[in-house]
């Protein structure tokens, strides 16, 4: 019941929000070119402010809060951390030919160029990895064969490890009890001086305990590994079953298309670098021109290319950001703990902000010619060609290294499970 109520509230509020937003933007805000330009610039300024000033400072503050020793002078240390960040951030601009020298020190172009470099690197890394990982995940050709006996064998190993841990802990519990009854209370060393003291004076019983504790720690680590491997095998088994259904076959088919697309992208990146070429027209206009010339269909090229390219640009942005968020969320769950959760959320925000700014930079390539000038005007005179080249290089590097990485992981996995 509460589920239905919640979802209906969400849907109505979203409809209202978007409805009003659309009305507001269309009727009020963008009546003229001036106001649009102003708001675009203002948004950019605010985002940059947040990205460069607020979020890194906040991150530094949370990191410092986690270290117990520095608790008293948190603000001071977080300011120091922020200054270090700013220094490296500035230094980042030096090796890259991104600016023409006629700009001042605190202009927007300086900030955008640096943020852009980081963001573009990030985008290229992720696209490279995504381009390779996507066909690997979708296509069932790569699925390892998992049988029920494999899973049972692994489960048996897991339970055996747990039994060993239990027997060791039984010994420890009994030793602790007899020590307690004899009056030698085993205190956990607390604080710095406690640790030093425990090194010099220790009862024979507690020495025994620390030895067993070390063995137990190693066994517990092993049990965690085995648990994760078993969960992995179950997941693979489910995927194998899923791939035999209709939906699975459909995704498998898509996977083939994706792999062709990814290979094409890698190929184009190589060509761009080798032949030092920069595209002059965007792909949609080219495509339509080719269609018109080849098939002789009468088309109002300008009109259609503009609309289609914007729709495609929208789809690209949405899917790439969605893909990024999904990957980051998985990563986030894997490494989250109660202490570092704040830092991770802020890092996520930082990454998203940089991603957004650099996607604005890169999207310029996919837009028709007359709109490119507008983007150029707003973002200032950056060396756009450099960014595109940089993207291609990093994309290629990332794609090749992910191919290598996945190949190694794929080879190594079946051997792990065959071991007795």
């Amino acid at each position: 019941m509460s589920f239905l109520v919640d979802s209906s509230i969400m849907i109505t509020s979203q409809i209202l929000f978007f409805g009003f937003g659309w009305l507001f933007f269309m009727r009020q805000l963008f009546k003229d070119y001036e106001s649009r330009y102003f708001h675009w610039k203002m948004n950019l300024c605010v985002i940059l402010l947040i990205l460069v000033f607020m979020v890194p400072f906040y991150i530094g503050y949370f990191i410092v809060s986690n270290i117990r020793l520095l608790h008293k002078q948190r603000l001071l240390f977080s300011c120091l951390l922020w200054l270090t960040f700013m220094y490296f951030f500035w230094k980042l601009g030096d090796p890259f030919p991104i600016l023409s020298p006629k700009h001042g020190i605190l202009s927007i172009e300086q900030l955008i160029s640096r943020v852009g470099v980081i963001g573009v690197t990030l985008m290229a890394l992720l696209s490279g990895f995504g381009a390779v990982n996507c066909p690997y995940t979708y296509m069932s050709y790569f699925l390892r064969n998992v049988t029920d006996t494999d899973i049972l064998a692994l489960e048996r190993r897991l339970l055996q490890t747990m039994d060993m841990i239990i027997s060791k802990k039984k010994r420890m519990a009994m030793t602790r009890r007899t020590m307690f009854q004899k009056g030698e209370v085993h205190n956990k060393p607390s604080g710095f001086w406690g640790m030093i003291k425990s090194v010099t004076t220790s009862a024979p019983g507690s020495e025994n305990l620390t030895l067993i504790q070390q063995e137990v720690d190693a066994l517990e680590e092993l049990s965690r590994q085995l648990f994760l491997e078993t969960a992995d095998l179950y997941a693979t088994k489910e995927r194998i079953e899923y791939s035999k259904t209709f939906k699975g076959k459909y995704f498998n088919f898509l996977g083939y298309f994706f792999s062709i697309y990814c290979v094409w992208k890698i190929f184009m990146a190589t060509i761009n670098i080798v032949f030092d070429r920069v595209g002059k027209t965007d792909p949609v206009t080219r495509g339509i021109e080719i269609t018109v010339n080849y098939l002789g269909i009468q088309f109002d090229v300008k009109f259609w290319s503009q609309h289609i390219s914007f729709i495609l640009v929208g789809i690209i942005i949405v899917t790439s950001i969605r893909g990024l968020l999904i990957t980051l969320t998985k990563f986030f769950y894997a490494i989250s703990s109660s202490k570092s959760s704040n830092v991770i959320v802020l890092l996520l925000a930082q990454i998203m902000g940089m991603y957004f700014v650099s996607s604005v930079l890169l999207i310029r390539m996919s837009m028709p010619l007359e709109y490119r000038t507008i983007v150029t005007e707003v973002l200032g005179e950056l060396q756009f060609n450099f960014y595109h080249r940089w993207f291609d290089v990093i994309f290629l590097v990332s794609a090749l290294s992910s191919i290598l990485f996945l190949y190694l992981a794929h080879k190594q996995a079946p051997e792990k499970h065959m071991a007795p």
């Binding site: 841990i165 239990i166 039984k170 519990a173 009994m174 607390s190 994760l228 704040n342």
Partner: protein, 228 residues
């Protein structure tokens, strides 16, 4: 310190407190399952006193985990002699999820993710018939403000009644809640006694002959399940 995102109820702290009578200094996220052992005196203070080991299996993860994780967890539910359901007193959802947890452990049936199981949807008779002793523990009692305490404790009392179980509410960072002689310690002791009886006595119908020597050991395994 302020937390944006906490996902834990405090099971590991609880298990550490129960087994080692000490507060856990550095709690961290539990991957998979961790075990600890408690030495328990069955029927303490009577002439039939015997010492047993109780294994506490702390099964981590959430009710909404992927089904591969649930299948892996299911291997730990074999030969369960008792279940401790742990929930967070400051988080109402964690107590609602206890129903799904108990179904997962008792039926060993993988509940599909989807709509919440609310109070009306579970089968009370299933818990009345249930032979496995259950205990409901609420953690983070210290974080409940004085004014809200009565309301929270009433709610948890109903919860424990639904499961046909005893309940204990405490704060895992303070050993005084389980101090010897307190009502919580008595409830805990009674619960462990029931577990031991189920494992060793009720099945045969007659008592296993015991040695007069206090050092006879047995083990009962007890799963402590809970929600995030």
């Amino acid at each position: 310190t302020q937390e944006i995102f906490t996902k834990s109820v405090g099971k590991s702290s609880l298990v550490h407190l129960l087994c080692q009578n000490q507060v856990l200094g550095n709690p961290s996220w539990t991957v998979g399952c961790s075990v600890d052992v408690r030495v328990h005196d069955y029927k303490e203070g009577t002439p039939e006193e015997k010492t047993y080991y109780i294994e506490l299996w702390d099964v981590g993860g959430s009710v909404g985990s992927a089904s591969s994780v649930k299948s892996t967890r299911a291997v730990f539910y074999n030969s369960v002699n008792g279940i401790i359901l742990v929930h967070d007193l400051t988080n109402k959802k964690s107590s609602q999820n206890l129903y799904r947890w108990s179904l997962e452990a008792l039926n060993r049936d993988l509940v599909p993710t989807g709509v919440l199981v609310t109070n009306g949807d579970y089968d009370r008779e299933q818990f009345a018939d249930n032979q496995i002793p259950l205990l409901v523990i609420g953690t983070k009692l210290d974080q409940i403000h004085e004014t809200k305490r009565h309301e929270v404790l009433t709610r948890t009392a109903f919860l424990a009644e639904d499961f046909n179980a005893e309940e204990i509410n405490l704060d895992c960072t303070n050993p005084r809640y389980l101090a010897a002689g307190s009502s919580n310690a008595v409830k805990l002791s009674r619960f462990f006694d029931k577990v031991i009886e189920k494992r060793y006595f009720l099945r045969d119908g007659n008592q296993i002959p015991g040695f007069p020597d206090r050092k006879r050991f047995g083990g009962g395994s007890l799963k402590s399940l809970h929600y995030d």
